[in-house]
Symmetry: C2
Subunit: 159 residues, 2 copies
Amino acid sequence: MRRKSFEDVPCSVAQFLEVAGEWWTMLVIRDAFLGVTRFDDFQTRLGISRNVLTQRLEHLVGHGVFERVAYQENPPRYDYRLTDKGRAMWTVVNAMRQWGDDWAAPDGPPVVATHKACGHQVNAVTVCDHCGERLGPHTMTVSAGPGDPEGTILPPHLR
Amino acid sequence: MRRKSFEDVPCSVAQFLEVAGEWWTMLVIRDAFLGVTRFDDFQTRLGISRNVLTQRLEHLVGHGVFERVAYQENPPRYDYRLTDKGRAMWTVVNAMRQWGDDWAAPDGPPVVATHKACGHQVNAVTVCDHCGERLGPHTMTVSAGPGDPEGTILPPHLR
């Protein structure tokens, strides 16, 4: 339950982690979205031990989030590239970024994201893909789904 | 860097954590969105020690994510209620839920979210609030912002 502090890292995702708890793996994913693919680059940027990073990357490769692609044969060297499953984590990383920008960036966003299509600074909102209305905590009801018909995880008042 | 396994928990958020690493704090936030407010209820649902939960809730109260509201005076007892800052984390929790539903729920979503306004099962997408276009990892560019004018966190090719 120990974690290193991200308090001084100028990154809204890191600020989110600082508030919400240890979860530096998301910084590996963030870096991948920023174009980082090499072990040494991840390691230098995150400042974690090679041993810990090796374990974490193997975990992510094992779960199909990254794939290893050889870029050199002798000695063997690999790029770590996000799979479709890994790229789908973008919404989580981006939601963390938006939260950090909104709630934990007193000097303004450390990184500005600009929407290529319209040229405006990105303010990301979550909408329903059916009707396009903005979603929030009070816009939906929850019920037991096929993956857990008994609603084990739901509090009694929602079962 | 140790974490307990969430592999068997029938919750897409937990499945996301299983894949991406330890981060059970988000399950406290998730529970708060499900209407849980009492220490004992968080504790029972999460199965963590009272000591660890106390530390975690104090951390979240200290960072303004939860506020404590007395519901009984003698002995003093409190509800833990999300603040606006905490409620803003909904987008992160929801993005995790959506990812888990899409990528880590082979039997279907364990919890189904229904959009009250249109009555359809929620498929949450992220859009630009200016133009309404769907956002994704390749739809935006990033650059150094006011919170970090030197772009410390950006890889060299993006500075």
